[in-house]
Symmetry: C2
């Protein structure tokens, strides 16, 4: 049994808790929280919820600590810190800062002799794996990543900070015509605006200036200005009834050529359609926890990524089962 600890207890952590129950080689040992543990009720019976400060006492009882903090402020310090005491998995998803995060975690994990797998999830994560495979197999080609249709939490949060806004759910939507051009092998150069549109469902305060809110959204630099954005005002009841889920997904497409003169067009496409983004991300984290233990058993320490885990390493199947049923 792989003994798992969870750090944090938000949507991602709950997803990890659920995923552990689906994997018969995994066992949840404890949840650690910065909140008052008395105010945190988890789904699993007979598993303690403890203050974060207790974690260090659990080093002998936990094989892998899954860090469910946020990428903006938690993980940059949390992952190197906890890699001193535990094998750790995180879902650090700030793409531009991955090399720096890797270096910090690697130094810490190498020194303590632990293994860390960072940036697990689906992007970074499974999408990255598919980009890597597709690039290795089709060296001549072009990569495209489309996200959605799904809820972008960062963009929803940005709208919520606008005065007069009570709630927002922002959907990122890939442009179907752009995807079709990619699939046809046109290898288009696509602008930000050509790839995705954004759709905001907004609940405004009574008497708020809706035109001003819409203007503030559509002109927000980086978040919305480079996109065609639609704003729709709805009631709080409608928000709760129709937008309580966190669906997401997307596609990684590599369009490449093979043949002596590049005469054959080849397309590799990987597509996720997810009812629950955090539960799916959590399922990847848990599979990577298994992979981390396999690498650790072979003597690997330091920072690793999903690129370093062989498919066999993340699978619960025996080699015989894999050869017979999967290959």
């Amino acid at each position: 049994m792989i003994r798992i600890g969870i750090l944090g207890y938000g949507n991602l952590a709950k997803g990890v808790e659920c995923a552990i129950r689906q994997n018969p080689d995994m066992e949840l040992k404890a949840v650690f929280t910065r909140r008052n543990p008395e105010n945190v009720t988890i789904l699993t019976q007979n598993v303690p919820v403890l203050p974060l400060t207790e974690a260090e006492k659990w080093q002998d009882r936990i094989d892998v600590m899954i860090l469910c903090g946020g990428s903006a402020t938690d993980l940059p310090t949390m992952t190197p810190e906890f890699a001193k005491q535990f094998n750790v998995i995180d879902s650090f998803d700030n793409h531009a800062n991955i090399p720096a995060h890797f270096a910090a975690v690697d130094a810490s994990a190498k020194e303590s002799g632990h293994i860390a797998v960072i940036s697990s999830g689906w992007d970074p994560g499974l999408f990255s794996v598919n980009r890597l495979y597709a690039n290795a197999i089709l060296p001549q080609g072009q990569d495209y990543t489309f996200w959605g249709k799904g809820v972008s939490q960062g963009h929803s949060d940005a709208v919520r900070r606008i005065p007069g806004v009570l709630d927002c759910r922002q959907y990122t939507i890939p442009v179907a015509q752009a995807m079709d051009r990619v699939r046809r092998g046109e290898n288009p150069e696509l602008t930000t605006r050509e790839k995705h549109t954004r759709y905001c469902y907004v609940v405004a305060e009574d008497g708020a200036d809706k035109a001003a809110i819409e203007e503030a959204i559509k002109t927000m630099p980086n978040y919305f200005a480079p996109y065609d954005t639609t704003v729709e005002f709805i009631s709080m009841e409608q928000m709760r009834a129709e937008h309580s889920g966190l669906p997401h997904g997307g596609s990684v497409i590599r369009s490449g050529i093979t043949g002596w003169n590049g005469e054959s067009h080849q397309t590799i496409e990987y597509k996720l359609t997810l009812d629950s983004n955090p539960q799916f991300t959590a399922s990847v984290l848990v599979a990577c926890a298994r992979g981390a233990m396999r690498l650790k058993d072979r003597g690997v320490t330091g920072c690793q990524t999903i690129f370093d885990l062989a498919p066999a390493d993340i699978s619960l199947m025996t080699r015989e089962e894999m050869l017979k049923n999967m290959l």
Copy 2:
């Protein structure tokens, strides 16, 4: 540089030759053939074409031998035999016999201290990898593989053996409605007939009994009887003009559930759309040759599969490039 030898010189081998040219860390050293080498002209300049019997003299000049024989009669003996002298890659695709093939190759490669990667390609190969990842991430779910639209060479050959048939091209076509049901999460139990249809373009001899040919095709056990099959007679000119390529592809879909009560439906789909089946298969073989050398450098010998190659192992990128551009 990874020094490659190619055994055989059919469509797959030509694809390997083309793929090597796309990979700057690879070099083609020699092609070995059972035919008279004087009758074999390859695309690459200044690379010798040699009789198969010469291969053993090249052990010190070739890092990986890519075996481009057929799965029915060549590879079952060829791969164990050549694993005595070389690191080898094959595309053995007789799914039911993979465990036996693995055992034979493993014994041979372990004894000689070489590495062998068998059953590389896309199915088995990339489709298998995606089945394995998807099963590890969504332990509760169901797998579906759809093939096509594409040319099935085995089925085309079977029709060509019918008296009165001069040529045939058989296309396997996935049933769109079945794929839609899977994507919607219905987890249907699909019969063979419900998943794929078969379409045969046939050139008949002058005066042949076309009704009898059509009947012979449609009632052929295993190959066509379990399917809805359409037969269309065309001229030899039309065959050459419209059906000279070997396109193929397909989709691997896993439809699973996550959440404490399985409340979220999650779909993972991997799709290939290939102008040239042999060239794409060859591109996978070449990437696996790189992976085999990486494993060998870490001291691994014996029979391996694409499941044992970490994504990083098949990539030419440095770790820094991967972290920065792919993750």
